[in-house]
């Protein structure tokens, strides 16, 4: 079964093929959907590759401190700018630190930033979108105009301003990025909610006296998950890049903690002398972002083959 969610298009009839049994929570259907999803993911080689990369990344994030050959701030100035060798797999940076260890340890920061920042915008944005779409009218107007204000504010400036208020650092960078991406989730969710709000199964549930919270949480939300999940995977990638952009400006992860973004931007000053300082963290970002996006694409194909792209992306590359 599919649920057509049409986020931004006014004037179209929502197509809904969900079963008519009123009041039945869609749980069983969801379970089989997940099984189907997993099956297709496994068949899709690119998606499988993405899963493996993310698995490795997760492993690196968890075990990094134990398996890294050197400490993240083991400064040996005499050994600086050494090319990749057996002693230093990815070479050394301008302070003589082991680039391989720093890339490995940087995985934790990148995963955390991605997951937490998107977690924030996902939670807050979805809630706003759900409420706005579900109730409509003045509430909808109020919430969405607020989101518009946030949306109209340039993303990078917003993040910088938030960081300037909270102070720089990884955690605050997560919050700042989370705030920046909140309106997108609100929009996506609201659009989808609008299209299922008047669907038969929702009306039926309402008619047998289901309360608002129950209606929104149990009947509406599960049926608008597809675009939200896709938006999540895309945002994870952008969140990691946003951290890189903020680190470029010195506002993200604080030195000497390794952040791929910071390594990359500092490495550009040595581009003609020591390419390895920046290229390896760059590759790490590339594969991570690639994996999140491929996974997102695959999920979209699986969850909703006919889904009109309700995903809005918003680059924030400084």
């Amino acid at each position: 079964m599919t649920t057509h969610t049409d986020a931004e298009q006014p004037g179209r009839e929502p197509v809904d093929e969900s079963p008519g049994e009123a009041g039945t929570p869609p749980a069983p259907a969801a379970t089989s959907r997940w099984r189907e999803t997993l099956g297709i993911l496994v068949r899709n080689r690119l998606a499988l590759f993405a899963l493996v990369v993310l698995g490795v990344l997760l492993l690196a994030g968890l075990t990094g401190p134990y398996v890294a050959p050197y400490g993240f701030n083991e400064v040996v100035v005499e050994d600086r700018l050494e090319a990749p060798s057996s002693a230093h797999l990815f070479g050394t940076d301008n302070l003589g630190r082991d680039v391989f260890s720093r890339v490995l340890l940087g995985a934790r920061v990148s995963i955390l930033v991605g997951v937490v920042a998107v977690g924030i915008s996902l939670t807050v944005g979805t809630l706003f979108g759900l409420v706005a779409g579900f109730y409509g009218g003045k509430i909808d107007d109020g919430i969405m105009r607020l989101m518009d204000v946030l949306f109209a504010f340039p993303a990078l400036l917003m993040a910088i301003a938030v960081l300037a208020i909270l102070g720089p650092g990884t955690v605050n960078a997560m919050v700042a990025i989370g705030i920046v991406y909140t309106p997108i989730f609100a929009r996506v969710t609201r659009g989808s909610v609008l299209s299922v709000r008047e669907a038969d199964f929702v009306r039926a549930a309402r008619s047998i006296g289901a309360g608002d919270v129950r209606l929104a949480g149990l009947h509406v939300l599960p049926n608008v998950l597809a675009p939200i999940i896709v938006q999540t995977s895309v945002s994870l990638a952008f969140a990691i890049l946003s951290e890189a952009a903020l680190s470029f400006l010195g506002l993200g992860t604080q030195p000497p903690n390794p952040s791929w973004g910071r390594m990359l931007s500092e490495g550009r000053a040595f581009i003609q002398q020591a390419w390895w300082i920046a290229v390896f963290p760059g590759l790490a970002i590339f594969f991570t972002v690639l994996s999140f996006n491929v996974l997102g694409d695959a999920l979209r194909d699986v969850l909703d083959p006919r889904q009109k792209s309700a995903i809005e992306s918003r680059g924030m590359s400084a």
């Binding site: 300037a164 952009a245 792209s309 590359s317």
Partner: protein, 313 residues
């Protein structure tokens, strides 16, 4: 339509007012003040007090806000703390560079995204599809400052083909304008194009599965014609949305690319204003960006009606 536009216009004013309050609140919440910064490391209390008073910063915040918004409504955005110039003149001076770059980058992005996205959708699952996906992922994940520097090192330092940096007004020299614009536009355009490629692909895919496509095919129309006439036209709607958002984003400046190519755009102006706590400049710039955003959104919505006959306002 007229009623719709009026309603949207009213909403836009509301959003602009909201943005004005937000930017004012945020910039004043940020620690650090412009006068302290202007004095640099060498600090003197009396000089500091005198300067603060002269800049009106000793007034209550609410008063400062109404003073500013009142004058902004008459088109007076105030005077920069840092440069002593009017905010309006600083913005106007940089607008041509930003508009040039944003427009050129969108053109580059569409030149990449439309063919690549369509092809990879039509041949879904083929090698070309994978290549296109990989390219668009690379485009998204390569930071723009890297791409910019690599372009400079290759096309300027190695080949000596293009000027490494700077902006030339199109009025002064159209050719100079073009050659200076090329590398920054490609740098920005590849990133935007990569994002757009994904959307073109997915909406063409969807369009391919729609009833009207099946109908057209069943009528025996040739594939090329089906795709050009029916699929693409319908696929354009979401693409226009994303293109609009990208354009709005580019119009608010691309700080890093501007830095790499010494491009006198609005992004740098706004960033410097944040960093220097130059309140009037930041407020003016953000208001302008919000205006861009709303205008682009409105244009996109109106375009929908042209592109998709099913949409009516």
């Amino acid at each position: 339509m007229a009623g719709y536009l009026a309603r949207r216009g009213l909403q836009a004013v509301g959003v602009l007012l909201g943005v004005s309050v937000l930017v004012f609140a945020i910039i004043h919440l940020v620690p650090g003040d412009p006068v302290r910064l202007a004095l640099g490391t060498r600090f003197d209390q009396e000089t500091y007090e005198a300067l603060r008073q002269r800049a009106g910063l000793d007034q209550p915040l609410v008063l400062q806000y109404f003073d500013w918004i009142g004058r902004a409504l008459t088109g007076d955005l105030g005077v920069s703390f840092r440069s002593g110039r009017t905010v309006m003149s600083m913005i106007v001076e940089r607008l041509p560079a930003t508009l040039s770059l944003a427009a050129a980058a969108i053109v580059v992005a569409l030149l990449i995204a439309l063919p690549l996205g369509t092809l990879s959708a039509v041949r879904q699952g083929s090698k070309l599809d994978y290549a296109a996906t990989t390219f668009s992922q690379a485009g998204i994940s390569i930071p723009d400052f890297w791409m910019g520097i690599l372009l400079i090192l290759f096309f300027s330092l190695q080949l000596d083909l293009l000027p490494p940096s700077g902006y030339v007004s199109v009025l002064e020299s159209p050719w100079g304008w073009f050659t200076h614009l090329l590398m920054p536009a490609v740098t920005v355009g590849v990133v935007s194009g990569s994002i757009l490629t994904r959307f073109v692909r997915s909406s063409v895919l969807e369009s391919l599965g729609e009833d009207f496509t099946r109908t057209a095919r069943s009528k025996g129309l040739r594939e090329r014609r089906v795709i050009r006439r029916h699929v693409l036209r319908n696929a354009l709607v979401p693409v226009v949305t994303v293109t609009g958002l990208q354009l709005a984003y580019l119009l608010s400046g691309v700080v890093v690319v501007e830095a790499v190519f010494a491009w006198p755009g609005l992004g740098r102006l706004a960033l410097d204003a944040v960093l220097a706590r130059d309140y009037p400049v930041l407020q003016g710039a953000v208001l302008l960006f919000a205006l861009f955003f709303l205008l682009v959104n409105l244009t996109v919505d109106v375009l929908y009606a042209f592109l998709d006959p099913r949409i009516r306002y």
